[in-house]
Symmetry: C2
Subunit: 109 residues, 2 copies
């Protein structure tokens, strides 16, 4: 198949899975980390930084942008990308929540 049966899960579960999928690629992690490091940069900086062709970088940036993880501002003929704190913050909260619940219970295995 290759298609996920999203209709049976909660909106939160689908959203989280979708966010994680947007980050679940080493190039997109590398892009995220590079933007965090330099605070903001244009697409071409990333093309020079990573060993991938320009259309491939553009595609990865689009996915990160669609997920709300980064945002881009037009600056002349370039586009300045930076992190949108909200989504990373959301992920951090979700994993903190998981960890707290797991710590409370434990036992078993």
């Amino acid at each position: 198949m290759g298609i996920s049966k999203t209709e049976h899960f909660t909106d939160k579960q689908n959203e989280l899975a979708s966010l994680l999928k947007a980050l679940a690629h080493p190039a997109r992690i590398a892009i995220l980390e590079h933007i965090i490091k330099v605070n903001a940069c244009i697409c071409n900086d990333i093309v020079n930084e990573l060993p991938l062709a320009q259309p491939t970088i553009s595609q990865h940036l689009k996915e990160l942008k669609n997920a709300g993880i980064i945002k881009g501002n037009i600056e002349g003929n370039a586009i300045c990308y930076c992190i949108d704190e909200k989504v990373i913050g959301k992920l951090q909260k979700i994993f903190s929540g998981y960890e707290m619940k797991i710590e409370k219970k434990r036992s078993c295995c």
Copy 2:
């Protein structure tokens, strides 16, 4: 293609991407959340809980187990699954780290 050029990225980046991929499916999020909720359960509980066929659940469990997110103990003819705290803890720390770095800088867009 469909193949990722992992050889050009750091081990940490590849590992994180791989972990996130293991969680990047609503069924696997639902499985994780169910196990957290009930602390530990056998595969069949999940089959009854989720609207997916037994082989599909088994496949998702395998991926979560390979990623180290859950672990399974044989109990008679059933297998008792529970969370391995280490990996969720690792993810929580990584996202906390990202958030701290982002908060420190900010500006731009």
